[in-house]
Structures are given as C-alpha cells and as structure tokens.
Symmetry: C2
C-alpha cells in the first residue's frame, strides 16, 4: 500500500494501540474497547479504516463472534534530512528473494530448513540480531549520505539547493546527456535544469559539447 | 525522538508536504503557504509543532525574513505483522560507528576520504545502492521471521498466542530460568508466565528442574 495512506493510518494513537493489541492476539470489538478504554463505536470506525486498507481482517468463530486479526506484514521506512524526505512502504519479501544479487551487502545467516524447535529458536535469534544490525547499517548509510552531500555542497560552492546540484552532477557523471534526459532524471522542469547547468558551467564544473552536457575534466580535483 | 510522537507528526499530510518542501530548500511562511495552498495561519501552526519536536529550525536573514529548514536527520522504521507491531526512530549514526561489530552482516563500500567531486559522486551512488540493498534485506528478514514463527506455532501446536510461546521458549533456550526472570524477559505478569509454562510442560516442551524451567531434551525433535 501507499506510504502516505499508511502514515495517515498510523498517525492515530488509538489505531496504533489497536494494531499492537491485535498483533498479540485476535480480538473482538468489546475486548478491544474494554482493553483500550475506547468506545465500541470509535473502535468499529478505526477497525473499518484498517480493514479498508487491508491491514486487518476478521473471522467469525463458532459462537458467531467476530474476531479481528492482522491481515498481512507491512514495513514502512521514513528518512528525513536537510537533503530529502522519503517514505516507502513494502510487503516483506518471501524466502525466494535472491540476496546474492546484492553488490555491497553480504548476509551470513542460515537459510536451510530447520528441523527442531531448538533449531527454529536459534534461527529466530539470528534473524532478530540481523534485523538490528541492518537498522544500524541503515542509520550509518544515512549519516554517510549526508556527509557526502555536505562535502559536495562545499565543493560546488552552493548553499541550500545542493541536493539538486548533486543529483544533476550524478546524472551526467557516467555519460553526457541532453537537457531533456537530465530533466527526466531529476523530475524537474527543463528551464530549471537549464539554469542550473548554466550556473555550474560558470563555475567550471560542467561543459556543453556536441555529445551533450558533461562533467569537465577539471572536476576531478577541486 | 519518540517514534509515537514522530508518527503523530507525520500522520498529517500537510506537515509531510511542508517537510518535503523544506528538504528541497529553506522557505519562509508566505512561500510555503502559496506553494502548498494552505493558509499562513495553518502553516505557522504546523511549523510550530515541527519546531517543538526539533525537526525544523528557523534562521532570520539580512532582510529580517525568517527562513525555516530541516534541523536534523531522522529515520523511522515500522514493522507490522501478525506477530508484532514495532516502530523505532533513530538519528543517523556518524561515520565513527563500528560496523565491524556486526556479526551477520558485511558491507562492502568505501569509507576512505574522497578528494574530488567525481569520487564524491561515486560514493554517493554506492551509498544509494547500498541503502536499497539494506531495505531489500530488511524485507527479506521480516518475511523469514514470520515464516520461522509460523513453523514454531505449528510445532508447539498453539494458535493465536504463538508469539509469546516463542518468546518464552527463546528466553529459556540458553539457560534454565525462574519464573521471575522469565516474566522480566517477556514483560508479562508472573501468573501469565506460570500458566504458559504449565501449558507447555503438559505438551512436553519444557520441564521444571532444581535449576529452574528449561527446554526438555525431547524438544530437539518435534
């Protein structure tokens, strides 16, 4: 689902409390209402929104009592920095995901079939530790990204609009490009891209040749 | 900052739009109001909340115009599954983070000092790819965690309360423990833990010895 829709849903404390409760055990409306101290009417409204979004499902038991439970796994990530605000949501990947295609990352964790409870508990522990290590790694990457963008801003001599300069330089780094292609890469209007290119040409960072816009040779040593 | 407070702030679409705008460039109130089509009064209220939370800061320029900008880097992660609902927020780690302490994870990305724009752009590209690989890895881990918890539920023969059973088994896996310690590990009342232990003892999964509660030998082959 859309990360904006997910953030709207998760922005409400009582909806978060309902999700937390249901992730421990399936519940019916009266149970949720009593446990959280929220009126049944409000609980029903929250459940309706969560059900519409596909986060929650219900099942009716033999006594015709309607139990709600978490319908699926969802993961949400938000990064905020002076260089960008990005949120993405995704469903967890299945076992079939080919991690070997990762170029900068190696995971050392068993994927063989476990046969006993003891082995399953061992794998559970490994996965929980790996999850923490991955979070740590992402915090490190985000910190490094900001440092590198700070250094680029400093080298390029720009202030507040440094991210778009960095994206523009990155776009033409591997091959010379025309304004049309660059404006697609950056998702920015042609006129804005043209102005940026002129400004960077004045600083001697980029040049226009018959192949298109490219980094100047001198950009190698700033 | 607290992940609940962050989710409350990010739950509002106009606040997200303000953050997105400020992450591109610092703006003053009238600019934000015109760009987003939101009244200056509402913009000021949103900025106040974002400033109180430390996400946004302001600076007054020579013309006494007050510019707002993103104050710091924040990262938020939310995982929702039938086995749990967890959210955590963190500030990105600095370069000094010791990734070598990671046991299940290896990163292959340069950390040396870059000297030219070209090298900086190269590092930027590597970091952006690594960020994607880490997200992919986290989705894979979350998927695997659910699979393993499903297998444990099946082996233990429990339904909806399987997560607490798995956590209990994991808690006494490495060493026998008393009920007090287990209830601390699980953050659950003693009586609940006592009931769970009795139920699992009946199934032959755990036993009480003079050293405390421990997994039975037979748990190795279920």
């Amino acid at each position: 689902m859309d990360s904006a829709a997910l953030l709207n849903l998760l922005g409400n404390e009582n909806r978060r409390r309902i999700l937390r409760l249901l992730s421990r055990k399936p519940c019916y409306v009266t149970e949720i209402s009593e446990y959280l101290g929220v009126s049944p009417k409000a609980v029903i409204e929250h459940l309706q929104k969560l059900e519409d979004a596909g986060l929650v499902e219900s099942r009716t038991d033999d006594q015709r009592r309607k139990y709600f439970h978490i319908a699926r796994n969802v993961r949400l990530e938000v990064n905020l920095s002076p260089y960008g605000f990005a949120s993405k949501s995704a469903y967890p990947a299945s076992n079939g995901l080919d991690m070997s295609k990762c170029r900068y990352l190696t995971l050392d964790v068993g994927t063989e079939d476990e046969e006993s409870i003891d082995e399953l508990l061992g794998t559970l522990e490994q996965l929980e530790r790996l999850e923490n290590e991955l979070s740590l790694a992402q915090r490190w990457v985000q910190g490094r990204l900001c440092e590198v963008l700070d250094q680029i801003s400093e080298s390029v001599g720009t202030g507040s609009e440094s991210r778009i300069y960095a994206d523009l330089l990155a776009s033409i780094r591997s091959e010379p490009k025309g304004i049309g292609t660059i404006s697609q890469d950056l998702d920015a209007p042609r006129e804005v891209v043209a102005d940026l290119l002129e400004a960077m040409a004045d600083r001697g960072l980029v040049q226009r040749t018959e192949r298109g816009w490219e980094l100047t040779e001198s950009r190698a040593e700033v």
